[in-house]
């Protein structure tokens, strides 16, 4: 996947209105290698994400992805839509684990525009129809 990368990253605030939706992004299946790569790039060496024995001892069926991995992927998808420098806030609540083999679908929609600032609701849902996060962002837009 070039993730959302098929769309160029915009500089200027985008013309977005209430109800506008981001083009849906579907990830490749997550692998243990993806988790290890995020450990290295993001600095999260919590063993529950890469050490099978630790994860099982903690009561998990296997290792699972850091929330910050798929939140980060959602963040770059958002950036391709609204422009990275136009994002004023980004927040997410993690509602489920991402397991090896899972495929996520990212969606986002403008729910309000007030004084040039859009409020955007975002979601990531697994192939099992389980929401793994709910997010909210604000971004500067133009009418």
């Amino acid at each position: 996947m070039s993730s959302a990368g098929s769309m160029p990253l915009p500089v200027a605030p985008q013309p977005l209105r209430e109800g506008d939706a981001m083009e849906t992004v579907v990830t490749e299946p997550f692998t243990r290698t993806d988790f290890v790569r995020y450990a290295g790039s993001g600095g999260d060496f919590h063993p529950i994400h890469h050490d099978e024995e630790f994860a099982r001892a903690a009561g998990m069926p296997t290792v699972f992805g850091m929330g910050m991995l798929h939140a980060g992927m959602l963040g770059v998808a958002l950036a391709h839509w609204v422009g990275p420098d136009n994002i004023r806030s980004f927040g997410t609540r993690f509602t489920g684990q991402v397991w090896p083999g899972d495929v996520l679908t990212f969606d986002a929609q403008v729910v309000d525009v007030t004084d040039g600032l859009a409020t955007i609701e975002l979601s990531a849902v697994s192939q099992k129809d389980e929401p793994v996060l709910k997010a909210t962002a604000t971004a500067v837009v133009v009418a």
Binding site: M1, S2, S3, A4, G5, P8, L9, V11, A12, T27, E28, D34, R37, Y38, G40, S41, G42, G43, D44, F45, H46, P47, I48, F54, A57, A58, G59, M66, G67, M68, L69, A71, G72, M73, G75, V76, L78, A79, H80, P84, D85, I87, R88, S89, F90, G91, T92, R93, F94, A137
Partner: protein, 152 residues
Amino acid sequence: MGSGATEGRELETVSFPIERSKLRELARTFKDDDPVWYDEGAAAAAGFDAVPLPPTATVLADHWRERGATFHVEAAGLDLSRVLHGEVSWEFLRPLRIGDELTATSTLVGDERRSGKRGGEMRLVTVETAYATAAGEVVARRRDTLIETAPR
């Protein structure tokens, strides 16, 4: 909120650079092959005054922390094997840039105990981190909620 004699306690301060190699790694991790995320020429060609950062890029601070991204687990006295990341949010006061040297100061702002769904006691710890320039200008804030599930 909560039970916390510890609320308001500073957990850790760390200074760190926003640097290109780690941004390249992050872009690759996020499976985004757009060179604007790490190449100054590509960023300039796309109209950016500098390489822009993805919204979660403050994680670069964790490379400079002794215990990485889990620094607050020990500092708040949580059991690593029972900790889940519940929430995270950022507020950006200006865009972050390569070459920024930031100091991240993390403070424990909430420590709440609740009854777990399957009995026992769970703990919710909230940590706020402010990212400031050498001149003391706060450019971003982050808030994390960690959940320590009830003992099994």
